[in-house]
């Protein structure tokens, strides 16, 4: 789905765009007519593939390397977008990692690494983007949370905590920047068929699908469609929202 008519040619940055939900979002924003900076950290090849796909959709693309956990790297990434195009008007924080393990055996580094990328990383990018958006009196920020952040998830205390933290981050930013025409929303995907889910076994994937009222895993494109809407002019009256794209898994949360 595209929103090209209302929102042509804005400058968008999608972190974690080398694969999964980030890549699908980069593509959806390209189809909406935006210029898309493709943020990546470890998977250069994947980012290059996203760039090719964005360009094939008729939009300009720019790969920017950014370990979102490092503020200096985030700063450099934004600077390269600003020098090539203009300040970022649409920011989607899709960079995320998992390092699953049971609480009893979870190491400090395992905890810290997941918090660093998924929570600190989003904070770093939102903070960096906010000055330009406030000055422009327009901005769209969409963070990618998880149904796990609302429901809890055995074996993912680090991941679920980071994703739950994004609720408070998103809503605080929404309040702080509302008067400047900047919206900030959170999408909470359920189980989505991406590389992140490949690490769990087939049995577990089947269980996950069965737990979802709609009876199947979601696709990255289905999440990207919701994100593209929240990034559009049409979503101007939506801020601080937690938008589930989870097949009904999180209903009531």
């Amino acid at each position: 789905m595209s929103y090209a008519r209302e929102s042509e040619g804005r400058v968008a940055l999608v972190t974690g765009a080398s694969r999964g939900i980030g890549r699908a979002t980069a593509l959806a924003l390209a189809q909406s007519g935006h210029r898309v900076a493709v943020g990546w950290s470890r998977d250069e090849e994947g980012a290059a593939k996203t760039v090719v796909e964005v360009e094939a959709a008729g939009a300009e693309a720019l790969a920017v390397r950014a370990d979102v956990g490092a503020p200096a790297a985030v700063d450099a990434a934004f600077e390269s977008v600003e020098s090539r195009w203009a300040p970022v008007e649409v920011l989607v924080n899709a960079a995320g990692v998992t390092r699953d393990g049971l609480l009893l055996r979870m190491g400090d580094d395992q905890w810290a690494e997941v918090l660093r990328t998924n929570l600190d990383g989003t904070f770093h990018c939102v903070r960096r983007a906010s000055a330009g958006m406030v000055r422009a009196r327009w901005g769209r920020i969409v963070n990618v949370g998880s149904a796990a952040g609302l429901l809890g998830s055995a074996g993912q205390v680090n991941y679920a905590t980071a994703k739950a933290g994004l609720v408070g981050l998103t809503r605080s930013v929404a309040r702080e920047l509302a008067s400047r025409g900047v919206t900030c929303n959170l999408v909470t995907p359920g189980p989505i068929a991406t590389a992140m889910l490949d690490s769990v076994g087939d049995d577990r994937r089947r269980e996950l699908a069965e737990a979802v009222p709609l009876g199947r895993l979601g696709t990255a494109d289905e999440v990207a469609a919701a994100i593209a809407f929240l990034c559009s002019d049409a979503a101007a009256y939506v801020t601080g929202a937690v938008v589930p794209v989870d097949g009904g898994l999180g209903m009531g949360h």
């Binding site: 000055a131 406030v134 000055r135 702080e176 920047l177 008067s179 400047r180």
Partner: protein, 83 residues
């Protein structure tokens, strides 16, 4: 940089950020009551000044700023720190 230079830079920034008339930006003007600025406006103003004057203004100084004159004092203090 003289006091007048700083006031002039602050006046320009206030006109841009707050959309006020230049004449309203006097030393006695209160940001909140006279210029209708909220806390986010003040941060924006400070960021513009930091950029233009090349002087960092720490967060804790912001709490002491109510009037334009106080803002000028803070910037001057940062430009020429007392030895």
């Amino acid at each position: 940089m003289t006091r007048d230079d700083v006031l002039s830079a602050l006046r320009d920034a206030s006109v841009e950020v707050l959309g006020v008339e230049p004449g309203a930006v006097t030393e006695e003007a209160n940001f909140h009551h006279d210029l209708d600025a909220d806390s986010l406006d003040l941060v924006e103003l400070v960021m513009v000044l930091e950029e233009r004057l090349g002087v960092p203004i720490p967060e804790e100084e912001l709490a002491n700023i109510n009037t334009v004159g106080q803002a000028v004092d803070v910037v001057l203090g940062r430009l020429a720190p007392t030895p």
